[in-house]
Amino acid sequence: MSQAWSAPLAAVGRTALSTLAGFGRFGEFGASVARSFRDTSTWLRLVALQMARLGVESLPIALFIAAFTGIVLALQASYTFTGAVPLYFVGTLVGKTMILELGPVLTGLALAGRVGANIAAELGTMKVTEQVDALETLAYDPVAYLVVPRLIAGVVMFPVVVAFADAVGIVSGWITAINMLDMSTAEFVRGLRLFFLPFDVHYSLIKAASFGLAVTAMGCYFGFTTAGGAEAVGRSTTRAVVVSSMLILVLDAFWAATLL
């Protein structure tokens, strides 16, 4: 067997196997989460704290992003719609884009950075400083204690944050439209309502919930599988953010393909 061609093959094999192993570990992690769900007495009283930390404390950044997105959408829409398309379509574009896409996705990406990194760093540090082991010795199921409340908080609070983001984005688009564009409130609202369907809101919330699950799950998974020291915590944090951002985009496409 010549080294020249066996080395690349071995590399491919190794990569494939380690990828599979990664999926396996994640599956195991998922199974342990499912098991720990029954341990309500452990996680129930911790959910409120995580909801406050992951959800309520994320509102400022989410709303900041949404406000500027709304402004940009309104301005760019009016720039695009010169001439043939009536100006009230600015309202339609701001509303639709905000609710269907940018509200959930930009919020999701921002929170992947804020929440995902936070979780991965916190759990990673707890892991390498044996705090997770300490929980075990104190008869706490660390998954029920640390992971489940975060997942629940993510799934519940992301849609809430996105609801606010959608609303703020639309309102800032509206304010931009009446102040910086030659539009009236009536025109903007007409455009806004033109193609609005209640399903849009459901879609936005479904996306948000799935992003919440993706971000918190990745944060917890990479945090929990941290082994080593400060550097490993850094690596886990980076991975959590990168993978959850990618997952958000993949889920975004997935929902668009399946729900629209």
Binding site: A52, L59, V85, F89, V160, V161, A163, L197
Partner: protein, 329 residues
């Protein structure tokens, strides 16, 4: 500390849910606190009408489409509309479905049937269900416009065949004159008709008037003759002169024929006016399509015009002489 967390999170969630519910309802255009009743209408098909589209009366939004479903049997569609309960619907109402604007959203508008009596409404045995009709959407309007353009082309072709290239200039002038004549004749006929009741009493006056009219006609054709030196037209003029000579006897025939004649002239006249205005509108370019399409009456006008033009073309094909000779006698 835990307590405050719970309170803050609870408040944010409740606020979020309230925002969602009221936001959704507001965006759907639901009027809060207003009484609404559900009214049904029946259609053959509903085009692109969707749940939530506006329901209007005289252009004013009074509700929205609540539900769309097939009647049992699948032959008809029932549209349930939520309408403000204090709105009084017209007597014998009908519902027309049409695009609200050029961009695809539809509306259901309620009219008295007398406004658009011609459409093929889907009547229901239940008097509570309003008959409805869905206007064709933009693509079908385009098709009709195409058809009209085709008919106009045919008409133009015929006219070109009737008046050959060589005589075009002269004939154009002749037509101008003929138009003048026909206007005068129209006036004459009008007068004639008004005086018809007094025909017996004022026969002499009438005859004199006709004589004057004949004189005018003669003068007009003298102008035509002066303008034209071509042989063919000379023949036509001969014909005209011969006819003019018979003008005395015409006065008798005239009374009987006037009704028929007048309507033909008017019909042709109004047709050309409509065709002309459409042509102008189409030619005037940007934004016109949108304006045209917003007017749901356009379709019926186009259809009526089309029918007239088609009738005119057929009639022209059958007896082209009528159009040339009739005007000139």
């Amino acid at each position: 500390m835990k307590r405050t967390n719970e309170i803050v999170v609870g408040a944010v969630i409740v606020l979020g849910i309230a925002l969602l519910i009221f936001g959704t309802l507001w965006l759907q255009g639901v009027g809060f606190g207003r009484e609404e009743v559900v009214t049904q209408a029946r259609f053959r098909e509903v085009g692109q009408l969707l749940h939530g589209n506006a329901v209007k009366l005289r252009g004013v939004p009074i509700g929205r489409v609540e539900d769309i479903y097939l009647e049992s049997g699948g032959e008809w569609v029932i549209v349930a509309m939520k309408i403000e309960s204090d709105v009084v619907l017209p007597v014998d109402p009908v519902v027309l479905l049409a695009p609200e604007s050029m961009f695809g959203d539809w509306q259901a508008e309620i009219f008295p049937r007398s406004r658009y009596p011609l459409y093929d409404y889907s009547e229901s045995t239940d008097p509570q269900v309003i008959p409805g009709y869905a206007l064709p959407d933009i693509s079908r309007l385009t098709a009709v416009a195409d058809q009209i353009a085709g008919n106009l082309a045919v008409l133009t072709e015929r006219v070109e065949i009737a008046f050959t290239e060589e005589t075009a200039l002269n004939v154009r002038r002749a037509i101008e004159n003929i138009q003048e004549v026909s206007e005068q004749l129209t006036g004459l006929v009008d007068k004639q008709q008004r005086t018809m009741d007094q025909v017996a009493a004022n026969l002499e006056t009438t005859t004199r008037t006709l004589g004057e009219a004949a004189e005018t006609v003669r003068r007009a054709f003298a102008q035509v003759e002066a303008a034209i030196s071509h042989g063919e037209l000379a023949a036509i003029i001969d014909d005209v002169q011969r006819t003019t000579a018979q003008l005395d006897s015409l006065s008798n025939v005239m009374t009987a024929a006037s009704q028929d004649f007048r309507s033909t002239v008017q019909r042709a006249d109004s047709t050309f006016r409509i065709v002309h205005s459409i042509a102008t509108a189409v030619r005037s370019g940007e934004g016109t399509a949108g304006r045209l399409l917003q007017d749901t009456t356009l379709y019926s006008e186009l259809r009526q015009t089309n029918a007239l033009v088609r009738a005119l073309v057929e009639d022209f094909q059958k007896n082209p002489r009528k159009y040339i000779n009739l005007s000139i006698f």
